[in-house]
Each structure stands twice: as structure tokens, then as C-alpha cells.
């Protein structure tokens, strides 16, 4: 029964148990509109988590992605307004490209100077935020100015239903975007040599370079990919909330890292999976969502996220220690 000991199965089990418990406390949890809104809340955190997952498997950590996301989002929206571009394909490509280039800066310092990723990303994140507010602007772009194409795209639902009181609700199609990206990251990690190299590098950087992996390629690949995912998620977020706020995403790094750790990735590198991360994201979003439903003050959410990050890290660290012994 080896599959029973897989982290994903354990996490799924805990998730199911938590869902049952929450359902008992609050039967409204199982209603379709709540579940749909829950899945909607997964999209942005989830896409960002995919990038953080890759970096954590390599043994690094990224705290710069919220800044990259906000920069990509704000610059792209500004550009769309300035140029009058109404499509979405180029907009998302641009946002992803901005994130990718910023990610390359991270990769450069991590690779070239063998710097600790935490320090590098703390620095780049702070710089990017500062530049954005200082050079580009601090004003929010509200619904009345937001590009319509973007909002229309983010409005697409897969299913929509009508409640008894006549209001409609649905499951956003952005969930499909998230699932598609998750599938891509999964395939990359599992079925490409670069992906296996990420695991190898996270397991033992020295051995990975001795074995003949291209370390530069691996590092640039993950930091650029993570940056691109963040940029993409940033723009999608603006479309989904009809608002481009250059001060958005503050403190989001902790939520995302908590979700990735909750999903079984090791902070020491070498371990982690897309499925686990998606479960971790779902669990984190669900817990935060339940706190809101139960009308618990939002400040307490920070406490909960902190507790989750500590406990999940402790459990995975304990697991890894046991494996080593």
C-alpha cells in the first residue's frame, strides 16, 4: 500500500476531513455557490503557487512574485489604456513577459553570485514595488477605466445557475486556465529533463552539476517561469476583480508559500508535486474562506496562515528527517 503513504493522499485525506468538519459547522459550505466561489479564489493563488513550487523544489524560495505580479499587471493595464488595445492575447503575453524578465533578474543573481534566493527575491521584490509606485504611479485604475476586453474575458463562466431569489452565479472559466497551467507545470516537472533537473538540483546541487545537468538553464528556467506565471496571474486578477491596484498583493507571498508547504513541498528542496500544491492551495483558501463565513475578524486570518505555515513546515521537516535517518 505504498500509495497510501504518498503525501498527496495524506493531504487529500486531511482536506476531505476538514471539508466534512466545516460542512458540519456550517452546512452552507456545501452549497454550489460557495463551492464555486471557493474554486474562483483558488485561481490566482494557485497559479502563483505553481511558480513558487518549482522554486521550492530547487531548494530556493521566492518572495518577489507578488511584486512582479503587481508590476506586470499595472504596466500592462496602463499600456492597454494608452494604446487602446482591446484584445487579451497580447495583454497576457506582455504581462507574462514582464514577469519573465523580472524573474531572469532573480535567476541571474542566484546563479551568478550563488546568492541565497530569499535575499535575492526580498531585494528584487522591494525594488520592483518601489519602482512601480515611484516611477509608474500610485493611482488605482477602476472599473470605469478598465479595458473591457479583459473584464469580459474574466467574466466567462463554465456553468451558470440562477438562485431562487433571481440572482445568478456560476463557475468561472478561469478555473480551466488554472488547471491548464497546472497540467503544463506538472508535465514539465515530470516528463522533461529540465524538470527532473529541478528535483536533482534541489536534492543535491553539487551532484546535479557533476551528473551533467545544465545548472544555468535550470535556474533561469524556474525563476523565469515563476515570474511569467506571477505576471500572468497578476493581470488575470485585475480582470477578475475589475480593478488594477498598484498596491495589490501585499503579504500574498506568505499565503502562497503556506499553501505550497501545506501541499507537501519541502523547504529544503527536492520534494513537492503539482497535485499536492493544488490540494494545499485549496486547503488554505478553504480555511480562509470558512473564517470569513464564520464571521471571524480578518486579522485572525493572519494568525491562521502563520500557524499553518509553521505546522506544515514542521510536519514536512519531520518527515524529511525521518527519511534521512
Amino acid at each position: 500500500m505504498a500509495w497510501l503513504r504518498r503525501s498527496e493522499v495524506v493531504i487529500a485525506g486531511i482536506l476531505l476531513l476538514a471539508m466534512i468538519l466545516i460542512g458540519l459547522v456550517n452546512p452552507a459550505f456545501w452549497q454550489a455557490d460557495n463551492l464555486f466561489s471557493l474554486m474562483r479564489s483558488n485561481v490566482i493563488i494557485g497559479i502563483m503557487a505553481l511558480g513558487v513550487l518549482m522554486i521550492m523544489i530547487s531548494g530556493g524560495i521566492d518572495v518577489s512574485f507578488p511584486a512582479f505580479a503587481v508590476a506586470a499587471m499595472y504596466l500592462t493595464v496602463k499600456f492597454m489604456l494608452w494604446s487602446g488595445y482591446e484584445g487579451i492575447a497580447f495583454a497576457f503575453a506582455m504581462a507574462a513577459m514582464i514577469g519573465l524578465l523580472l524573474g531572469a533578474i532573480n535567476a541571474f543573481f542566484v546563479y551568478k553570485f550563488r546568492m541565497i534566493p530569499l535575499i535575492v527575491t526580498l531585494g528584487t521584490g522591494s525594488m520592483v514595488r518601489g519602482f512601480l509606485l515611484g516611477v509608474v504611479g500610485t493611482s488605482m485604475i477602476n472599473i470605469n477605466k478598465m479595458p473591457d476586453g479583459l473584464i469580459d474575458f474574466a467574466k466567462i463562466d463554465i456553468v451558470s445557475m440562477t438562485k431562487a431569489d433571481g440572482t445568478t452565479y456560476g463557475l468561472t472559466a478561469m478555473v480551466l486556465v488554472y488547471l491548464g497551467l497546472a497540467l503544463i507545470v506538472h508535465m514539465v516537472l515530470r516528463y522533461t529533463m529540465v524538470g527532473r533537473g529541478v528535483y536533482a538540483y534541489g536534492g543535491d546541487p553539487e551532484a546535479a552539476s557533476r551528473a551533467g545537468f545544465d545548472i544555468r538553464l535550470i535556474l533561469f528556467f524556474i525563476y523565469c517561469f515563476a515570474g511569467a506565471l506571477a505576471g500572468f496571474a497578476g493581470l488575470l486578477h485585475a480582470g477578475m476583480i475589475w480593478l488594477a491596484n498598484p498596491r495589490d498583493f501585499v503579504g500574498l507571498e506568505l499565503d502562497v508559500i503556506a499553501a505550497v508547504v501545506l501541499g507537501g513541498a519541502s523547504i529544503f528542496g527536492g520534494r513537492g508535486s503539482v497535485l499536492g500544491t493544488m490540494l494545499g492551495v485549496f486547503m488554505l483558501v478553504m480555511v480562509k474562506n470558512s473564517l470569513i463565513i464564520m464571521k471571524i475578524d480578518t486579522t485572525w486570518q493572519r494568525v491562521v496562515v502563520g500557524v499553518i505555515i509553521i505546522i506544515a513546515t514542521a510536519v514536512t521537516a519531520w518527515r524529511d528527517q525521518k527519511r534521512k535517518a
Binding site: M193, R196, G203, R210, A211, G212
Partner: protein
């Protein structure tokens, strides 16, 4: 004799003005088992790296199968069939056995995609070639050291190796695992693959190899068929001097019987050992050996308060002592030099001085501040008495050789006024010259300062040489006791074998 596979002629290599290799020559023939012997720092690793193409020599020639190789880089070296198994194996603990085995082949074939079915096929083939049982789906991190080594060897064989270089392959293995390894090495040889063993363990070299090359200070000092060498000769070549070893003799003092330094009665720890009675008098060096898992390390840890015993009594100089914590053990005058001095015994990134003083800071700070003058004196004195080779006590411990590191640990305990010294594998990873020095030091401590020494080791010759009494442990019990005088190494080796 077979044809030469690789010939290194008059190799010279300098690093920033420091000569690492000078006029070094080495010939490994096809399908032979060859030992490269030398002390730490003699240039063994450098010559391996020349063969694996990591370093380009400044002067000298490399011939492979009689052909001049103008420039040997890592890829060319692998293409020629040279595989190095490093001490740390270069494996990925977080990946499965199958992936570890197949990774190099997949990388060499320059695939962009990972083919899991092919991975399994490659891995299966690797394991079959070696003729061992390995669970392909197990994570390598879960395997014991010997298992990891098998994976590393199997992986090396996958690349159509003609020469496998093993860097200190037996360091972390138990005696039985060493025997398995030797069987595998002979099997590899029978397929026409040469094996170069890099080691400083003389007995193993003599047992396994057909040819020996000894190097010292980066140069070749002797080579020839193993039959022409014996331990004393290799030692002389390695160190450049004779190391005289005479057994340690201890005579009970005449007159009134002294109370024992250490007296252990009925000591037990559930699941580890039971009913341990042991008495060590001042000046005695008692050797303790047994197989891995016999409980010997646990016993040592109990005596040092790290794994407190469940029942039984311990007396030091006739006074009962409680050993529930390390602090209590130190206060009782017990000192412990751990098996893995690097991880347990030393602060590698700190200076020699600080390491020496680390157990004495309490005593050095009567008030709130440390008595710096006194501290400097004590550290300097210890460096002097322990003959630690360093220009200054500010040097970091990680820059010292293994033997010198061991002296730092020993020296530190002398400062704490220790009366009982427990040494767990005191010379693991230490070369012959330093080993003799450390042994001499331990004897001096016992003889002159009246310490009671408990020496735990796998190295039976080391124990017979340096202890006046030997105790055998098996399945958590002390099963037999010998006086060293009149006991041969072979007799004890046979007894240990019988335990299996």
C-alpha cells in the same frame, strides 16, 4: 600482466604557486585491482581529478590505451570509460533508485524529455549487470550507506566503464559490508574492468589489490605488485618514517588497591544494552568492540548523559554520579569524543581557540565576562601540548586535517579536568601518521595523568595495540573480556565473525 589502460607520466600540477602534484606517475592496467595509497593531503584527490578530467596538468603526459591524450576534460574522460565514485556518491536522495541509475545515461543521450519506461529499463539493466537486489522504486535517501554505494557502482557500470575509481569506498562501511563490496569489486574485475581503490586503510589494500602505488607529498614514492608490500613498508612509504608500535602495557600499582576511576554496575537501557558491569582503573585503556548495533555506542552515550540509562549505577572515583544530562557527565569528569567528530564534536566554522575553549567558558567566566588573558593562555597551551599543526589559533577548524581536528577535540577535554575519557572511533578518517600521533597522545594521557580511557572502535588492530584490556559486546551485553597481552587480532576477529 595485462596492457596498461591509463598511464600518467611525470604529472605536475600547481595551484596558485602551491605544488599539489610533482613528477607523479601512475599506471593502471586493464582489469586490475589497483590501490592508490597516501596520507590525507598527499595529492590523491588531485590525481583522481586529473584522471577524471576536472584538472588539466601543468606538465606531463596522459596515455589511454597507449594513445596520447592531449587534453582530458570530464566528458572525454567519461567517454574513455573512466568513472569516479566519490565519497559522497553524488546520488540524489530525493529520487528513486531507478531514476538515479538512469539519469546519467539519459543526460548523455541528450534527451529533452524524460522517458519513465526507458528509465526503468536502464535501471533494471544496471542492477542485473551488477547482480544485486535493489528495489528500483525505493528512494535512495532511505537506503543504508552500503545500498547507496551499490547504486553508485551500478550507475558507474552503466556507462561502459573501463576503469572505476573509488575514493575511500570503505570509510562508512561495516566489516561485513566491506566484504560484500570486495566481492563486487572482484566481480567487476572479472568482466575486464579495472578498479582503482583510493584508500589509507592498509589491511584492506593488502587484501583486495594486485598492485599498489604509494604517493607522498604529490609524488610517486613506490609502486609494484601487492605481494612485495607489507603494512610496515606501506606505512614507511606513506609517512616517510617508521612508525614504531608497541602494545600498551599497564601494571596495577603496588601497595594499597586504588579505587577504580570508573565503575559501572548493572547498567541497562531498554532496547540497547543490559547488565553492563565495567571497571576501569586509573591509567587503564580499555577497548570496547562489537558489531554495529551491539549497543556499544548507546553505552557510550549513556555514560556521557546523552542517552541516560534506565537502571544501574555509575561511580567515578568511588563516588556515585547521576548522568542524566551532558552537563552532569562533564561535571562528573567524563569526556566524550564522538564517532562523527565533524558533526557532533566540532564547530567547523569557528576558530581553533574557540573550539578548544568551548567546554571551558563556564570556568573562564567567574563574573559576567570571559577572562580573555586566561583564555588565550589556555588555548595556546593546548595547541602546544596537543601539537596541533597551525600557525595561529585563529584558523578555522574546518581548514585543519582530520588528525589535527581530532587533537582539537581531545585537547578541549583535557581542559575540563576530565578523569574518564570515552573515545568512539578515535581515528576514523585519520591518516596513518596522525593516527600514531593520536595513539601516543592517548597513551600519555592515561599513563601520566591517570585517566581512565574507554576506546570504542571497529579497528581491532588499533584496540589490540593501544588497550591493555579488551571487552567484547554483543546484543547489548558484555560477553567476553581479554587481556590484550597474549591476545591476537585474529582471535578477536574470529570471535566477531562468530557473532553474525
Amino acid at each position: 600482466m595485462t596492457d596498461p589502460f591509463i598511464e600518467l607520466r611525470n604529472i605536475r600540477k600547481e595551484f596558485a604557486g602551491v605544488v599539489a602534484l610533482d613528477d607523479m606517475s601512475l599506471t593502471v592496467r586493464e582489469a586490475e585491482i589497483h590501490c592508490l595509497a597516501g596520507e590525507n593531503g598527499s595529492g590523491k584527490s588531485t590525481i583522481i581529478k586529473v584522471m577524471s578530467g576536472v584538472y588539466q596538468p601543468d606538465r606531463g603526459e596522459i596515455l589511454i590505451r597507449g594513445q596520447q591524450v592531449p587534453r582530458l576534460n570530464p566528458i572525454a574522460s567519461i567517454d574513455h570509460g573512466i568513472q569516479v565514485i566519490y565519497q559522497d556518491f553524488s546520488l540524489f536522495g530525493n529520487l528513486t533508485v531507478a531514476e538515479n541509475l538512469a539519469m546519467n545515461v539519459q543526460l548523455r543521450e541528450k534527451h529533452r524529455l524524460m522517458n519513465w519506461r526507458r528509465t526503468r529499463e536502464i535501471a533494471r539493466e544496471a542492477v542485473d549487470r551488477l547482480g544485486v537486489e535493489l528495489d528500483l522504486d525505493a528512494e535512495v535517501g532511505h537506503l543504508p550507506t552500503a545500498g547507496k554505494q551499490l547504486v553508485a557502482i551500478a550507475r558507474a557500470l552503466m556507462s561502459d566503464a573501463r576503469l572505476i575509481i573509488m575514493d575511500e569506498p570503505t570509510t562508512a562501511l561495516t566489516r561485513r559490508e566491506v566484504e560484500t563490496l570486495f566481492r563486487i569489486v572482484r566481480d567487476i574485475q572479472s568482466r575486464g574492468i579495472a578498479v582503482l581503490f583510493v584508500s589509507h586503510k592498509m589491511r584492506e589494500m593488502l587484501e583486495i589489490s594486485e598492485t599498489i602505488t604509494v604517493m607522498r607529498n604529490g609524488s610517486l614514492v613506490a609502486d609494484g605488485p601487492t605481494s612485495e608490500f607489507d603494512e610496515a613498508l606501506i606505512t614507511r612509504h606513506m609517512t616517510g618514517s617508521d612508525i614504531i608500535s608497541e602494545p600498551y602495557v599497564w601494571t596495577p600499582p603496588s601497595g594499597a588497591p586504588q579505587s577504580p576511576r570508573l565503575e559501572v554496575r548493572g547498567l541497562g537501557l531498554k532496547g540497547a544494552y543490559e547488565d553492563v558491569d565495567l571497571t576501569i582503573r586509573p591509567g587503564e585503556i580499555v577497548g570496547l568492540t562489537g558489531l554495529m548495533g551491539s549497543g556499544r555506542t548507546e553505552l557510550a552515550l549513556s555514560l556521557f548523559g546523552m542517552a541516560p540509562a534506565d537502571h544501574g549505577d555509575v561511580k567515578v572515583d568511588g563516588k556515585p554520579v547521576a548522568l542524566r544530562t551532558t552537563q552532569e557527565a562533564i561535571a562528573a569528569g567524563i569526556a566524550y569524543v564522538p564517532e562523527d567528530r565533524l558533526s557532533e564534536g566540532l564547530f567547523l566554522t569557528q576558530s581553533i581557540d574557540r573550539n578548544i575553549l568551548s567546554t571551558s567558558y563556564e570556568a573562564l567566566s567567574p563574573g559576567l565576562t570571559i577572562d580573555k588573558t586566561r583564555a588565550a593562555e589556555m588555548a595556546a597551551e593546548t595547541i602546544d601540548t596537543m601539537q596541533i599543526a597551525t600557525p595561529t589559533g585563529d584558523k578555522l577548524v574546518k581548514e585543519l586535517s582530520g588528525g589535527n581536528q581530532q587533537r582539537v577535540v581531545l585537547g578541549r577535554w583535557l581542559l575540563t579536568d576530565a578523569r574518564v575519557l570515552i573515545l568512539n572511533g578515535p581515528t576514523v578518517g585519520v591518516d596513518v601518521g596522525s593516527k600514531a600521533e593520536i595513539h601516543r597522545k592517548i597513551r600519555d594521557l592515561a599513563r601520566e595523568q591517570g585517566l581512565a580511557v574507554l576506546m570504542i572502535s571497529d579497528d581491532v588492530p588499533e584496540l589490540v595495540q593501544n588497550c591493555n584490556r579488551l571487552v567484547l559486546m554483543h546484543r547489548g551485553r558484555l560477553v567476553e573480556e581479554f587481556e590484550s597481552a597474549g591476545t591476537s587480532e585474529e582471535a578477536i576477529g574470529d570471535k566477531l565473525k562468530a557473532f553474525r
